[in-house]
């Protein structure tokens, strides 16, 4: 073999079997984006359970000619495409996450004060306003709906709806949703102080009544029946949510509840994060739409907070026993972050006013409200 042939062989190996010559500028940028989210998750602690796997998914998939998100020669999905296809595309993972969430959730504060369901509905205002707003910027109806649901501040619902309606926006929507959920303590307080005068922030609410175990057992059955009858499209999410809650409240299957809350949630969170991150390849992600999505996502959160507070203020016009409008912001279903924010703002106004349990009602109502809004969008396009 001559030297020319050896050099030719080495060149061919470099070109066809290594990624170095195939690296593009876009991929370098996306690698930096992935590293940024890893930094936010690890160093800053922003939603690490999701941002870490998402960030790593972005990182690994933006190296050239990697057999991760494609299909093999015989048509089989490659590793992360496999997770994405059978977990996200088939809508299994978001529903299983809701199963785990239901197993963790105590609906007592909501059952004790069902009026807060209306607050959860009002906090979906941003979803629909953002939906209209994005249409002006050239988004299609389905894309607009998937961007609008970001304001529901519900990660699995956002992923579920986006996968159904606009899967090419999954990465951007999920990132925006989880990033802004982590920023709720920064986004909400200024709006709360602007909208609610100090006198209203000091309103004290009567202690919630005691909720019996029997009520908590029947609640998931009643809620499933009513919601699924009215919005059948949201049955996969809501039924899993209430199934998890029913397991928890029955008290008869602690092993299953424990698995749903812990091991199962952790497993699906890993696969979800990596799959979502892996959808953000440079050739898909680098365009004006993700930037707009981030902008609209922020606006969405702001308007949802506004909507929740406004709903309480309107309800107070008709109620003898006033609710503290601060709990309206907890209708943004970043559980329990926004309830905590409400509590902290309440303490600042009145150090003896403990709002955390009152805020959990609208917080949980927001989960149901955002799922209902998603169901409305799904039904709209059927």
């Amino acid at each position: 073999m001559s030297w020319d042939q050896v050099l030719e062989l080495i060149k061919s190996i470099l070109i066809t079997q290594t990624g170095i010559p195939h690296m593009t500028g876009g991929q370098v940028i996306m690698l930096c984006v992935g590293l940024l989210f890893l930094y936010l998750a690890v160093a800053k602690g922003y939603e690490p359970l999701l941002l870490l796997p998402i960030g790593f998914g972005i990182f690994i998939v933006n190296f050239p000619i990697t057999p991760l998100m494609g299909f093999s020669e015989n048509g089989n999905p490659e590793l992360i495409r496999f997770f994405y296809k059978y977990g996200v595309e088939w809508e299994i993972i978001p529903c299983v996450i809701f199963l785990g969430l239901g197993a963790m959730t105590d609906f007592g504060p909501l059952i004790a004060n069902p009026k807060t369901l209306i607050v959860g509905a009002g906090a979906q205002l941003g979803v629909f306003i953002t939906y209209v707003g994005t249409l002006f910027f050239g988004f299609t109806l389905k894309e607009a709906a998937s961007v609008g649901i970001i304001g529901g501040a519900d990660g699995p619902t956002t992923i579920y709806l986006t996968t159904k309606l606009a899967p090419h926006l999954l990465g951007a929507n999920a990132l925006a949703a989880y990033s802004y959920m982590a920023m709720v303590p920064l986004i909400q307080p200024p709006i709360m102080r602007l909208m609610i005068p100090l006198s209203q922030r000091k309103i004290r609410m009567r202690q919630l009544r005691e909720v019996t175990t029997r009520e908590k057992i029947f609640f998931p059955l009643i809620a499933t029946a009513l919601i699924v009858l009215l919005v059948p499209a949201v049955a996969p999410l809501m039924s899993m949510f209430m199934f998890g809650n029913f397991m928890r409240e029955s008290g008869m299957v602690r092993r299953l509840t424990d698995t749903a809350q812990n091991a199962l949630m952790n497993i699906v969170t890993i696969f979800l994060g990596v799959s979502v991150g892996a959808t953000m390849k440079a050739e898909v992600f680098l365009n004006w739409k993700p930037l707009l999505i981030f902008g609209f996502g922020l606006l969405d959160f702001v308007i949802c907070t506004f909507g929740g507070i406004l709903t309480v203020q309107i309800m107070n016009l008709f109620m003898k026993e006033k609710m503290n409008p601060l709990i309206g912001s907890a209708g943004v279903s970043a559980v329990p972050m926004s309830a905590r924010v409400t509590h902290v703002e309440g303490l600042k106004a009145d150090p003896d006013n403990w709002l955390i349990m009152h805020a959990m009602g609208p917080n949980l109502a927001g989960v149901i409200g955002s799922a209902a809004a998603a169901g409305m969008f799904i039904a709209m396009f059927q």
Binding site: I29, I118, F128, V132, M183, F219, L286, F381, Q382
Partner: protein, 296 residues
């Protein structure tokens, strides 16, 4: 701050790196089938996830072919793609007798509404887009039929000649913004209705369960006379002896001395004691873990 960083990153990206996102990803792609004189188009319109059927029939001629038309070829500033959710169609009608006669083209679908119009495109005219005066007829089973009268050689005939053949191009049109905003209000208030119904269900069930709990508790309680509920019992329990004031004073002093001896002599520090890093870390971790399980 993060938004500004993201905006700066995107602004610095070279144009060649930007992904092609301008393609029309919701473009309907109709598939045609024929049953006798009727041609049916099956397509997924814009803003839907399921397919719809649109039937084409002609009276006064023979419908030879119906095909889809790319909107790009008919795009003009005065029309918006978004309004034509079911794509454009080109229907070819032959055997029109006599040449120059009129035919009725019937387009029907469950996807149409009472406000759907049929817009016709003829590229040979100065103003190529025209609103046809189609009759919109409601048929049973939620079917809506648009009937367009087309004259051979008339403005709706793209071949422009009264030759016994018609080439008729156009598509059904619904107002995009009317649909978007209308459905927005319906859906938004729909969320209120759903949660309102759930609220009523919970209030009713809550009252039922509270009543059941009260009924359970009531038989176990002794009935109290109304006066006893308001007044404190003046007479002591039969098995309790009266305590003299001196005895009561002695007992009180003894208790005070006993409890004082149990208290730390040091006063409660007003400031938070300095904790070592290990303790601080442990406390932080405990507080974080309380809410960590709720992170989704």
């Amino acid at each position: 701050m993060r938004i500004f960083i993201a905006a700066a990153v995107f602004a610095l990206i070279p144009r060649i790196s930007w992904a092609e996102f301008s393609e029309d990803i919701e473009k309907p792609k109709p598939e045609f089938s024929r049953q006798g004189d009727r041609v049916t188009a099956k397509l997924i319109p814009r803003g839907k996830s399921t397919s719809v059927l649109i039937d084409f029939e002609v009276s006064g001629g023979k419908l030879t072919k119906v095909s889809g038309v790319d909107f790009e070829t008919a795009a003009r500033p005065e029309v918006d793609t978004k309004d034509f959710r079911s794509a454009l169609f080109m229907a070819e009608v032959a055997e029109i007798s006599p040449p120059g006669a009129e035919v009725k083209v019937k387009i029907s679908s469950k996807f149409f509404s009472s406000s759907t119009q049929y817009h016709v495109f003829n590229e040979h005219l100065e103003k190529p887009w025209m609103i046809s005066e189609a009759g919109n007829i409601a048929l049973p089973d939620f079917l809506q039929e648009l009937v367009v009268t087309v004259k051979d050689g008339g403005p709706y005939d793209s071949d422009g000649a009264a030759d016994g053949k018609i080439v008729f191009t156009g598509g059904p049109r619904d107002s995009f913004w009317g649909y978007a905003v209308g459905t927005l209000f319906i859906r938004f208030f729909g969320v209120f209705i759903v949660l309102g119904v759930l609220m009523i269900g919970m209030i009713v069930s809550g009252k039922i369960f509270q009543t059941m709990e009260k009924k359970k508790v009531k038989p176990a309680e002794k009935p109290k006379p109304p006066a006893a509920a308001k007044e404190k019992p003046k007479s002591p329990a039969p098995d309790k002896k009266e305590v003299s004031p001196e005895m009561a004073t002695a007992v009180a002093v003894a208790l005070h001395l006993h409890l004082s001896s149990l208290r730390s002599s040091a006063t409660m520090p007003l400031s938070v004691p300095r904790l070592d890093s290990w303790t601080q870390h442990g406390r932080q971790q405990m507080m974080e873990e309380r809410f960590l399980i709720f992170n989704k």
